[in-house]
């Protein structure tokens, strides 16, 4: 049965809470980028062209530690691999209004939260709704980054130091609740943290860069966990 047609206004309404949430996460990213020594306009440039929290923080680390282009490519491939899955799932819900040009543009806005809202819609998606959905998150993400980067440049050191933990605290807030409810997520989180700490603290691995260490830890962790706790049916998509 054909449900009611989703409008641009519906999209804006659904996008508002995401945009507000992004404002604070992006603020934390902006502070991080400022601490890493990036000029504020570069921080905003990253957010305008990437729209992804973990990927941007990883990219920032590669830049701050003077990593190589190859390291940047590998880091982004691994950390953003989940978008591949989300885009596959969403591509099957798009109606005829998504011609190739619109698909090329809209795909840039596939984030965890936008995916979660869009995939939960019972019927097919039209492009007008999708554009409405992504506008406020995009504005929130770029504005938050600008404010965070400026705050990081202006505020006294003892405050920026305490703000430095914000983005990491948010990551903890993302991974802990599903670790309690989903039996596979906890081992993925523990393996990931354990391997990352091992690569960091064991002197033998001292030559491995931060970016590479995160890649190795994440691939091994997800690889082992997927082997021990496979998800049957394959339609349970990541929703965080």
């Amino acid at each position: 049965m054909q449900g009611k047609n989703l409008s641009f206004k519906n999209g804006i309404k659904d996008g508002l809470p995401i945009g507000l949430g992004y404002l604070s996460v992006a603020f934390a990213f902006g502070v991080q980028a400022s601490i890493a020594g990036l000029p504020f306009f570069m921080s905003v440039f990253i957010s305008m062209t990437n729209l992804t929290s973990a990927g941007q923080l990883a990219g920032l680390t590669v830049i701050a530690t003077l990593g190589t282009i190859l390291e940047m490519i590998l880091t982004q491939l691994v950390i953003n691999a989940r978008y591949f899955l989300m885009s596959i799932t969403l591509s099957q819900k798009l109606d005829g209004s998504f011609t190739l040009g619109h698909r090329l543009l809209c795909s840039a806005f596939v984030t965890d939260e936008i995916f979660a809202v869009a995939v939960a819609k019972p019927n097919t998606l039209n492009r007008v709704y999708f554009y409405g959905l992504v506008i406020l998150p995009y504005v929130g993400w770029t504005t938050g980054t600008l404010l965070g980067a400026l705050a990081g440049d202006i505020l006294p050191l003892f405050i920026t130091n305490s703000l430095g933990i914000a983005l990491y605290a948010m990551f903890i807030a993302i991974i802990i609740p599903p670790s309690i409810t989903n039996r596979g997520v906890l081992p993925a989180v523990l393996f990931g943290a354990g391997l990352s700490c091992a690569l960091y603290y064991i002197p033998f691995f001292a030559g491995i860069s931060t970016g590479l260490s995160v890649i190795i830890s994440a691939i091994l962790s997800a690889g082992i966990t997927a082997f021990i706790f496979p998800i049957k049916g394959g339609n349970k998509n990541a929703d965080t």
């Binding site: 949430g21 953003n80 899955l85 391997l195 966990t225």
Partner: protein, 102 residues
């Protein structure tokens, strides 16, 4: 890093991120059949976020001990299912306050 090199790095980063999203969005019509691959892709964000957080969170405040307190507070608040913003604010505040005490 000079601005020009940084710009190149950011464009590479943006390009890779865009291609990952765009290729399946624009051109795929089939689902991934492999349970293993689907499970892997399901777990990868959690593995990535925890590997990015630990141990780096301990060095995020220029003082190991304030960071440790902030981490514990963030974990406790997350177990209590507080929102992203609340967890972040509590962690920052505890770092700030503990920084004055020690």
């Amino acid at each position: 890093m000079p601005i020009l090199d940084m710009t190149v790095m950011i464009l590479v980063m943006a390009g890779v991120t865009y291609l990952i999203r765009m290729i399946p969005f624009a051109f795929f019509r089939k689902k991934i059949k492999s349970d293993y691959l689907n499970s892997f892709l399901y777990y990868i964000p959690y593995a990535v976020l925890s590997a990015m957080t630990f141990p780096y969170i301990f060095y995020s405040t220029e003082n190991f001990y304030t960071a440790l307190i902030g981490t514990v507070i963030a974990i406790v608040a997350s177990v209590c299912k507080r929102s992203l913003l609340t967890v972040a604010i509590l962690a920052c505040l505890s770092v700030l306050i503990f920084g004055f005490i020690i």
